[in-house]
């Protein structure tokens, strides 16, 4: 079983990386009004039900993969 965790900076929080990316896009002539930079974590499990995996992923996110003060996360599980 595979899973992908998407971690994003919370909305409203200054994201200097995103701002740098937006400025660079601007220099290239692309007109992006806003850019936010997050993180993708691909994981592989063995022998768990989707429900069980999802519960475990939630705990991973709370304890390590994301910092709830500044980040939100989304979990995607694939067989």
């Amino acid at each position: 079983m595979r899973a992908t965790v998407l971690v994003r900076p919370k909305s409203g929080i200054l994201d200097p990386q995103g701002e740098a990316v937006r400025t660079a896009l601007d220099h290239l002539g692309f007109a992006a009004r806003d850019a936010r930079v997050g993180r993708v974590i691909d994981l592989e499990f063995s022998g768990r039900s989707e429900h069980e995996a999802r519960r475990e992923l939630e705990r991973m996110c709370e304890q390590l993969l994301a910092n709830p003060l500044i980040e939100t996360y989304e979990i995607e599980v694939r067989p």
């Binding site: 929080i13 200054l14 200097p16 990386q17 701002e19 740098a20 390590l64 993969l65 910092n67 003060l69 500044i70």
Partner: protein
């Protein structure tokens, strides 16, 4: 009045993670200020008999994921948590501050500098409170000159948390004038509710001699030595 004399100098553990790089400056400074510093490896299961703990600057575990996020799982951290819960003085500097925040010893989190640039220069910080031991050698409102050197030093907490910390007196240091990182509320350092755990971004261990441009950092490290000495005197 007869003051009790300890049989030895207070001992302070300086914890070394893979990627720490300020442990020797910190150990040297503590030695010069009257403590015996002991370098302790992150993978050690036990904390030696010490009366203080210092988490130095650097790039523990390559700053992977988020600064300090991995270091908090080091075996030694469980023992440091117990030490802190027992009232033992703990000081985190720069990466050490990031680790203490990620591990939940201290409130808030450190984010990339608003400028996205690595900042390395002397800054001025104002001491907001002097009734915790680590700032006990300072006067209230005293402005210290101490260098910062960090890429991810912008302390962040949401408005609600900042208000709560201000009310509780947990904002210990603020940048004076120039805020080098874009930290919320110009916060340069905070402490826990009990005041025995302190973290700050600037590096007091790099400012302990006028030859280095400032000796102001010595005041804070001497405060840590004072706290360790007080613990040693209680324990004998």
């Amino acid at each position: 009045m007869i003051r009790p004399m300890p049989e030895r100098r207070p001992r302070i553990a300086v914890v070394v993670f893979p990627g720490s790089n300020d442990e020797r400056d910190a150990a040297w400074a503590l030695g010069a200020l009257g403590a015996d510093a002991e370098l302790v490896w992150h993978a050690d299961e036990e904390l030696p008999e010490v009366e203080g703990v210092l988490l130095p600057g650097g790039f523990s575990y390559g700053d992977y994921l988020r600064c300090g996020a991995i270091a908090r799982f080091a075996p030694i951290m469980a023992k440091i948590r117990r030490f802190a819960e027992d009232g033992g003085p703990v000081l985190g500097i720069c990466n050490g501050f990031q680790i203490l925040c990620e591990a939940g010893f201290l409130p808030g989190v450190l984010r990339p500098n608003a400028s996205l640039a690595f900042v390395c220069r002397d800054v001025r910080i104002r001491v907001e409170r002097t009734d915790v031991r680590i700032t006990g050698r300072c006067t209230e409102g005293q402005v210290l000159t101490i260098p910062v050197k960090c890429g991810e030093g912008a302390w962040y907490a949401d408005d609600l948390l900042v208000a709560r910390l201000e009310a509780a007196g947990q904002i210990l240091f603020r940048y004076e004038g120039d805020n080098p990182t874009g930290a919320v509320g110009d916060v340069a350092g905070v402490c826990n509710a009990e005041g025995n755990v302190v973290g700050l971004m600037p590096h007091p261990e790099h400012a302990v001699d006028p030859l280095l441009g400032s000796a102001d950092g010595g005041l804070l490290l001497a405060g840590l030595v004072d706290a360790a000495l007080a613990r040693l005197l209680v324990s004998v």
